[in-house]
């Protein structure tokens, strides 16, 4: 009986899976490498540019929204709490997440003045491609940074950054889950914490 249900279920899910596989187009390694190379050049041009810090921050925020699949990363970061959050909370989360991601990236402008980077290799990982780069900044040891690139509506976009074997989106997911579990599983506590973090960073800039 159970076996029959399993077979029927499996047979029914095959066409759905095939459709899903068709919908998520794979990025090729060459596409991902040239995308990371272009994006990196734009990033370096802004960081090492002559504008004021607030001008650079504005330019970086624009670039982040162009090259990072922020909504997808946000969904991943909220994780299982996507099922708990109300539609209004999810929308507020995405808005705050867009702002925080940009602020967190611009936080590093000063530290990476004079940065250069080289694209090394690219490895296909299912539908994603991991592009390895070496980032060098004055007075710092060179760092190996991996960029995970995925197709987002026909465009390659960054969905994760890997430094020394640690994933930025997994770390952020655990960071946010820590806030929610510490507050009795309330997503509203996370939204308040994100809001107060944004206020703190805005005041400091």
């Amino acid at each position: 009986m159970y076996f029959r249900r399993f077979i029927l279920g499996a047979a029914a899910s095959v066409p759905v899976l095939a459709l899903m596989a068709g919908a998520a187009q794979a990025v090729t390694t060459d596409q991902a490498k040239s995308f990371i190379s272009d994006s990196g050049n734009k990033l370096v041009a802004i960081v090492n540019g002559s504008g004021s810090e607030s001008q650079k921050a504005g330019q970086l925020r624009g670039l982040v929204n162009q090259i990072v699949a922020v909504d997808q990363v946000g969904d991943y970061v909220l994780g299982r709490y996507n099922n708990v959050a109300t539609p209004a909370q999810k929308q507020q989360f995405q808005t705050l997440f867009h702002q925080l991601l940009s602020y967190n990236i611009t936080y590093q402008i000063k530290a990476y003045q004079g940065v250069t980077f080289t694209v090394n290799s690219a490895t296909q990982q299912g539908n994603d491609v991991l592009v390895d780069t070496t980032v060098t900044a004055p007075q710092k040891a060179p760092a190996d940074v991996g960029w995970v690139v995925e197709d987002d509506a026909g465009q390659p976009k960054i969905i994760d950054v890997i430094v020394a074997g640690t994933s930025l989106r997994i770390t952020t997911r655990n960071d946010y889950a820590g806030v929610i579990t510490d507050n009795g599983g309330q997503v509203s506590a996370l939204l308040s914490a994100m809001q107060s973090q944004i206020s703190k960073i805005s005041a400091a800039q």
Binding site: N104, K140, A141, G165, T166, T171, D175, A177, D182
Partner: protein, 265 residues
């Protein structure tokens, strides 16, 4: 024997109060009911039953770091160049090579053990006591392991997460590394002397300050951007350990002669 006793007493004097404090404060996190499947699974996956006590130690360490270690590290950066800090790092890394060699042997990675041995011999001689790292340019790059990773390769699970007073992020399995690291230094093999002890203390102190100096920017960044720095450091620690293990496995080159026969496929 006398020296071993002294080292043992010093080690115990440092770790026993820390462990006693840990036990006294070891409030346990309350597990969610098993009927709440998602929450219960997340709790199990987190594997941090001592979280309340761990968070207390995190706060204590954070204060110590903010008011002592970080200012010392900033002063050190002010009076040194990146080149000097790299050489200090190489020197400390070289002193750790014999322990790495033993750990690689215990893990059954003979080629990595050989790399550690060659690195120690070459860097201690041509590299002037390990200040330089000529072995890396000779094709023997630095490889990393410790007793926690050795236990992992023997199949010992990571166990619950621990945030140790003074030492920081660890786990039940990885905490076993501290006593091993304390004794597995080349200084232990030399005849006991006051000068050698002083050298050992100076080297440990300099290594700590040098490492903290290298981490000024990343730690500042985490503290400034994380909503829950404790959870962030816990996640980074676990991912980093998993990555170290993966690197050791991926680097598991076959030896010649083939000492470790693979079963026929």
């Amino acid at each position: 024997m006398t020296k071993l006793n002294r080292r043992l007493r010093q080690g115990l004097a440092f770790t026993v109060p820390a462990l006693a404090l840990a036990t006294a404060l070891s409030g346990c996190a309350t597990a969610p009911p098993k009927s709440d499947t998602a929450d219960y699974q997340a709790y199990q996956q987190l594997n941090d039953p001592l979280e309340p006590a761990n968070r207390v130690f995190y706060t204590v360490n954070d204060k110590l770091d903010t008011y002592f270690m970080k200012p010392v590290a900033e002063g050190y950066v002010h009076i040194t160049t990146q080149g000097i800090r790299n050489h200090v790092g190489d020197f400390a890394s070289n002193i750790g090579e014999p322990a790495r060699m033993l750990n690689f042997m215990a893990e059954g990675h003979s080629k990595d053990a050989g790399t550690s041995l060659v690195r120690f011999v070459v860097n201690s001689t041509i590299g002037i006591g390990g200040i330089f790292d000529p072995a890396a340019s000779m094709g023997y790059p630095e490889t990393d392991t410790d007793f926690g990773l050795t236990l992992a390769s023997w199949g010992v699970p990571a166990g619950p997460y621990l945030y140790l007073p003074f030492f920081g992020p660890s786990g039940v399995r990885d905490a076993a590394n501290y006593p091993v690291e304390w004794f597995a230094t080349p200084m232990e093999a030399a005849p006991a002397s006051g000068a050698l002890s002083d050298f050992g203390y100076s080297e440990t102190g300099l290594h700590l300050v040098n490492t903290r100096a290298e981490l000024i920017q990343p730690i500042d960044q985490i503290k400034a951007t994380a909503l829950d720095p404790y959870a962030t450091f816990r996640s980074l620690y676990r991912q980093s350990r998993a990555s170290q293990l993966q690197q050791i496995d991926q680097r598991d080159n076959r030896t010649w002669p083939d000492w470790y026969h693979q079963p026929a496929q």
